[in-house]
Homo-oligomer: 177 residues x 2
């Protein structure tokens, strides 16, 4: 095959961009904007976004939904050969789930020193023993973009809350009683 037809393998930034698209879907639905995709053999086999409020399920984080979807595609709970891309460092629940599902790699955008479980607060992905699997990790991929969408979401949420409070205040000052 001549060199001009060679297909370059897509890198971490390409797949994190797809995870960011998922995060945008979350923001549009009023959810904390976190997105995830799962890749095997250069192919995206699952994608999802945080749906806690939409599904009224506190376990419906982007990673959890993507993991379940990927397992369904693969037909096995072992996600060997897979890489999970997620816009923010996984929480303890999601990191625990990642260890159970055994992907080769976990790549995330923003580290979370307060509550992250992939090296931020604790590290469940690299704690073998006692857990049964160890994932290779890469942090900081498209970190600025992943952070920007979260910051925008929380800024808007605060502004909305403030406006609602002001409106309630004005309403009660008009109250004739």
């Amino acid at each position: 095959m001549s060199e001009e037809f060679m297909i370059e393998p897509k890198g971490d930034e390409f797949y994190m961009q797809l995870a960011l698209r998922e995060a945008v879907k979350a923001a549009e639905a009023g959810e904390v904007p976190i997105g995830a995709v799962i890749v095997k053999d250069e192919r995206v086999i699952a994608r999802s976004w945080n749906q806690v409020e939409t599904l009224k399920d506190a376990t419906a984080h982007a990673e959890m939904l993507a993991l379940t979807s990927a397992q369904s595609v693969v037909g096995d709970w072992r996600l060997e050969g897979c890489t999970v891309y997620v816009t923010k460092e996984p929480c303890p629940m999601c990191a625990g789930a990642l260890v159970h599902c055994r992907p080769d790699r976990v790549v995330f955008g923003i580290p979370d020193p307060k509550g992250g479980a992939a090296g931020g607060w604790i590290n469940l992905l690299d704690s073998n023993p006692p857990l049964n699997h160890k994932c290779e990790m890469t942090s900081g991929v498209l970190q600025e973009e992943c952070l920007a969408i979260l910051q925008h979401f929380f800024r808007e949420a605060r502004a909305k809350k403030k406006a609602e409070k002001e409106a309630r205040k004005q309403e009660s000052s008009k109250d004739p009683s």
Copy 2:
């Protein structure tokens, strides 16, 4: 109302017995026998058993399935006023999920010093901060019964594996080549 008609509030052992029944269903399906029930206002609102192999989903632990089911019954991801009963100490994934779903209490049968995340190996249920919720915990309820069913399962699994190995050995010794 005369005293003989007073209904005694059911205790932890009663509900753990129901979680054990779920564990039996898991064993019957060839799954590691762990069961869970979730109780609110003296009423069982969710019950489930470990279904990792059945659903080919490594996140399908008894607690995770019961939490999702309870949230669906309550119509909210906040499980305030709920108690989760599970036959074995939750793993990091399940403990992380419990913190997200905010039940008042978590009661378990067998402690797991190797990989438990409710005080055995680490403690995610009592780590506030940085996590957003703290669950009251009770360990060791019907511990012997919860352990017996697990031990029986693993003893049978080892015996089955050994028998299969023996059969393969005999088969290969018969091989005329």
